[in-house]
Symmetry: D2
């Protein structure tokens, strides 16, 4: 009974291909093309355009996507310059509202201060494939922003709208297993960012009953996972990644499932950068698994410390006063062993002597437990601690892959998600305090 | 592979029942309940709440829906008073932006001027059933607004968000036929607002292959039509409603389909009042039918003139100068026949004498062709002409039902949707000019 | 990914309409039409036809369905005369097999004795809509059989094949509720044979959570229930039908569900007469409900005794010897009250005096407990007792509807399905013994 | 609304795993286990078992599947010896029928001659997973038959029932593309028997829009393809296989699709050996493609000649008289080149000299065009010619793979499916005549 859109909605490839095709048809002739696009934007925003906005947006979107790089950049500048609020108009409205803050004047103020490009984007979204087109534009905008800081307000409007539209209330969480379509599974292989998937055999193992995968989908982008998390169901909190992703490991029976471990989380849509998804996904998955498997006792991660080696090498972080001495000693041990830089090459945690290991663990604890809330902190630590998780355990020689050794000196961390405490732990983290297990607190 | 939410998403009744149940559990004790709700709102909006917002929203939403009428009204006042922007803060941001309108200051201004209750609503929407809860709140808010004009800015924020979320780019148009679920069809019977559906036999006839029905759905509210339109596929533009909705009429074969006539359009969700849906639905349906049935020559409506009798009775509309004389004569004929009020009772267009008929048709033409763009204009005329349709034909004795006689003196109108002209005709209408067929222009 | 057949498989109406259309196209000219059909049948059965049987069957089936009544009857006679086994051939094969019963000779015997019309039907079934067409033919054949006993062997072949094809291993049991398609629900209204469904409001009540409905479907006939059973979930075994089917009765909460009562079972497909479906459906439903609702303590029916009044009126059944006296006394009481025939008209069980009631109950017990295994037995009793159920309780004034009074003198029966005992009770019934509760055994 | 069976029906793996699990639970103790199974079979077939057959079959099936090899073989012998028809009973029934061939006696005869094990299998099929269990039994039976010819009649009964149940009227043809589930696609990789699929990249290419794949499914075995055919859509009839299965070849646009070429057909279910599926699949696919792509001009195969090298080496086939001389000359040329056996090793068709090539082509033509209807004929040729296809073209150096060179000396054949002629060509083939193109007829 569902109406099929022309470009088969069941197929993300189909959808993208259709957009590509349309945009190719309209490409070329940057300046003239841009003029037509700007003209279309004005028409779409005009009173006249309202009655016909579906048709105008449907015509405009492929032209927009087809702009060449240079024309697109100029388009973004026009968005910044011509589709923002009028400073004098806003000032007047703000003055009138400050004089007498009633409903009428507030409505006028809100109307005056919202950049018209927001309404433009909302109308563009009415086109078939509109949401996909807007995500594509934002990818280009994020790239442009690096050299064009003046586009920041335009980017803020994109982010504002996308955050509202990709609100978790509108997202669907779906478990993904081996029965999923090959087209969808291929996207997991493509986007896994933490522990690369080595082909279909590897993926197959990661979708057996003791390994789970969950993704968020948006109804407007069926078949396209926005973000996915991989979970291992284990008898205990794991200390190393290799056994978890070993394609040859035999699946465990359900009676052994005691700990759910999030061992990888990857975004698939760069156009959604900055839109909060991972936090919500982890919590929805935890709730879902707790309902399905009441025998689960805890939820944790097995995570890398990707910024650790670089932080060690910078050697400029202030140590917390009461440990200053021990940190200094550890730094010395490290220097004696050739320095942080030397460790990057050929470091073997398994053969490492006890003193050096102790020094590195101490420094890693400082890096995680004290630096995380600062701008120097580790991105992964910031993410999980900011979600309200607790720093639970450091795992020596947890990741002996090249990348693991190079970035994290082979260390891995477990962050513990205890849903009863995330709110309070998150707040502490916002105020600069890292929640940690006794073991961690004792460690240094 | 799709995750089933706890309250079965396939069932709108289930969803509503779950919300009712939850809210009953939390009802009572207005003041204390309100205090808890406000506390929850502040927590949800706080930094602390961010990490836990799904859980907070899930707990808060049923409490909110459960507030008794008086507490809910006070809640709305708190939304107006405590969750708006800070006038001095906005003024300062507007001044700084007016001094130097750069990206940074614009971002600060936008942040300062957006009422925090918008973010509150976005976070509430994260709860399961959040969107449904927000629609329910808005229904109550619209009712409250009648006596509490100070809530207008709160209402503007609801409308702003809902317009963004129920953007046609996010809506799914679905044809509805006799294979649809009884639960869904029951909602059509309940909400048909133009030509009442007299039970399942009547509905069944309206879903035969020569009668179509299409609705918009939102992915978050599966099974709940937001708005639906009924279409008759006919050999020619119809002049009377009775044959179209006669349950005993034999279905026509597809080779006779020449004109698609929209004969009824009804909203199902009062919480979406003011969100533009009908215009988009009609155009999407027209495009869909044109693709499915290339033999269709035109798209029109068969519509009542629900404000005509009341307008006649008011007798205070200024006639367009060049017809002033004819209008005056028609008014006289009318008065001679006992006046507009008398016509309401027992008027029989079929027995009506020629002079009176001519007078009424003249006045109806004036009402439609000249009054539509004014505040006195007919709501249905405003809708279709505002969508860019053309006033095509007046049909004497087109609707002999009680309601039809009472409101429209039995008259019906065809509005013609010519997709090539809607944009231009809409613009003309915005400027006060009604597009009409030659026949209409000639009439008076 | 599923291939859509040309006539939309989702729609049983569509399917039937397509067949009707095709057959209309081919109808008329009985003799010539029959000649073409017979020719097609021979071609389809021939070696030559094998390579092309899909195409031949697709062409032949609509012609067959389109035969007029007289031609169809002649077609059946040809099936009987020309498409049976060769008596001499079978005899020879049987002799050879009796001489030396080895595999080869058995294969030859089986081949010789199977009527070729069985293979003809299997090949006809290859056509799109073949199964539906064969069911339609059998309906006509069953009608013809009444006057043409010579067709019995043809009918036996139809029954043999349909029993194999509609094997419960190939049937899908589906729960049906208010979310089912209106097209499907309409078929329930049409086919309910025990307690007529009084329109959509009545049906709606019968599909609330404390009333269930389950049906068997065949994959080849999607959307067409073959048989359905209605179940009431109740706190105790019910004694009267009226409260169960009262559209105004409030639904009970799940915590009250203790007894599942089958209160109606109806076939929808007369072409499947004689194919065992009801027995399997009841048992599959019982297992399903027991799994879904472990709190259920027992499964029973609330059934009419449709043959009781007629049996009473015949007055020729031999009483079991040890009760002969009491039965004779009861018969006398009955005669004194005007006789069985008089009771049919205006009998009011509620006002009935005690002696008469006792007499009727005694006779009903005899009818059920002693006559059921005999050819004089009640059809409903035969069905449930033959399924292995137990005669549990007689309910005076259980059905005060006109039909209930006329056929059953207002009596209803509970048959109890205890899955642990059905096998043994069924066997006893086959040997002429009715399993009954103590209460029943004590009664007379 | 569909009832989920306990072992998830959506997953063939789940289903097989459940059966494995159940059977492991029951395995061991061959003789005792067999005794229980035979007891269960007798109970299931008995009158007593009828009322409870679902439960008995559900208990019996896993025990049956769990029998060890030796016990299973004894079980088959019991099927042969104890569950066949009674020779004297059949003889009597046959005599009575021969005396007076009326309906009643025919029914008695049919009942007497059908082996009771057929009814046993029909009742076993009522169990959940019954059909899958019966297929598994037949796989074992086919293996046993090689050494136990006395089981032929049992095997004939299995084949008879499976042919009726897997009647094409009950099979669903489904297109399979990259959107299919990975679980399903994995089965294609596993079962492709003609041109091996080299992993997921290769498979992906074979599912692009210019390569199609279609399979038959049975509703009782969802997700398990029974047989699948791969099709290439090409601008002309192909002469070599390599370009068709080259994973790196760019997909062609739809406007180039002129010829649909069946280049591989593989069975997935050995338990269905002998049940005609391939013939029906090819014809359903041809009809489906003709409807979808009216621009298709013809349907052909690109096939190996797997028996050619072996036939050449045997050197004992009589040449058709009028070519005897040329065949003898060709044989001599072949002998001069070292003989057929030598060709098998390192033969390079590309470097082959003209006289040898001519000799081989002549002999291949004889093999195909004259030997195909004989017991010496090529299996692939028998299949396509038996389906009514025409021998169209011989392609020198069409398959340079090891297997292609070894079996077919690198030759490939196109068989042409012209749906208008298959019936007549099939009949000719049955009478020993091969339909061939003029080119082929001219060739030798």
């Amino acid at each position: 009974m569902m109406l099929k859109p022309l470009a088969d909605a069941a197929s993300s490839r189909g959808r993208r291909a259709a957009l590509d095709l349309l945009s190719r048809r309209h490409s070329g002739g940057g300046t003239r093309a841009l003029a037509r696009v700007l003209d279309g934007c004005r028409r779409l925003l005009s009173e006249r355009g309202e009655a016909n906005s579906l048709a105008i947006a449907a015509e405009l979107m492929p032209r927009l996507v087809a702009l060449d790089d240079e024309a697109r950049l100029r388009f973004f500048r026009h968005l910044a310059d011509d589709f923002g609020p009028d400073p004098q108009g806003v000032l007047l409205a703000a003055q009138r509202f400050a004089e007498q803050p009633d409903a009428e004047r507030l409505i006028a103020l809100t109307a005056a201060s919202e950049p018209p490009r927001q309404e433009l984007l909302r109308r563009l979204n009415r086109a078939p494939g509109g949401t996909a087109g807007i995500l594509r534009l934002r990818r280009a905008l994020l790239a442009a922003l690096r050299t064009q800081p003046g586009l920041a307000a335009v980017e803020a409007d994109f982010l504002h709208l996308l955050s509202s539209w990709f609100n978790p209330g509108f997202l669907q969480m779906q478990p993904i297993d081996w029965r999923a379509s090959a087209e969808l599974l291929e996207r997991l292989i493509e986007h896994e960012a933490v522990h690369e998937i080595q082909g279909w055999g590897d993926l197959r193992r990661r979708l057996q009953p003791d390994r789970r995968c969950f993704a968020f989908f948006h109804p407007q982008l069926p078949g396209e996972p926005l973000i996915f998390v991989e979970v291992a169901l284990l008898p205990e909190m794991p200390a190393a990644i290799a056994p978890l992703i070993d394609p040859a490991s035999p699946p465990r029976p359900a009676r052994d499932f005691k700990v759910a471990t999030f061992y990888s989380i990857s975004n698939c849509e760069p156009g959604l950068k900055g839109v909060s998804l991972g936090n919500f996904l982890i919590k929805r998955v935890a709730e879902h698994l707790q309902r399905e498997l009441p025998q689960l006792r805890s939820f944790c991660t097995l995570s890398p410390i990707p910024g650790f080696a670089a932080w060690l090498a910078r050697d400029d972080a202030p140590a917390p006063p009461r440990w200053a001495q021990r940190v200094a000693a550890a730094r010395e041990t490290l220097t004696a062993a050739g320095g942080a830089a030397a460790l990057g090459k050929g470091f073997d945690p398994v053969q490492c002597d006890g003193a050096l290991r102790e020094a590195i663990e101490l420094l890693a604890t400082v890096y995680l437990a004290h630096e995380a809330p600062t701008p120097r902190g580790d991105a992964v630590a910031k993410f999980h601690l900011g979600n309200g998780a607790r720093l639970e355990r450091l795992n020596w020689a947890g990741d002996l892959s090249r990348k693991g050794l190079k970035q994290s000196l082979g260390l891995m961390v477990n962050y513990l998600y205890d849903l009863r405490h995330v709110e309070e732990q998150h707040e502490r983290f916002v105020h600069g305090e890292v929640s940690a297990s006794r073991r961690i607190k004792r460690l240094p």
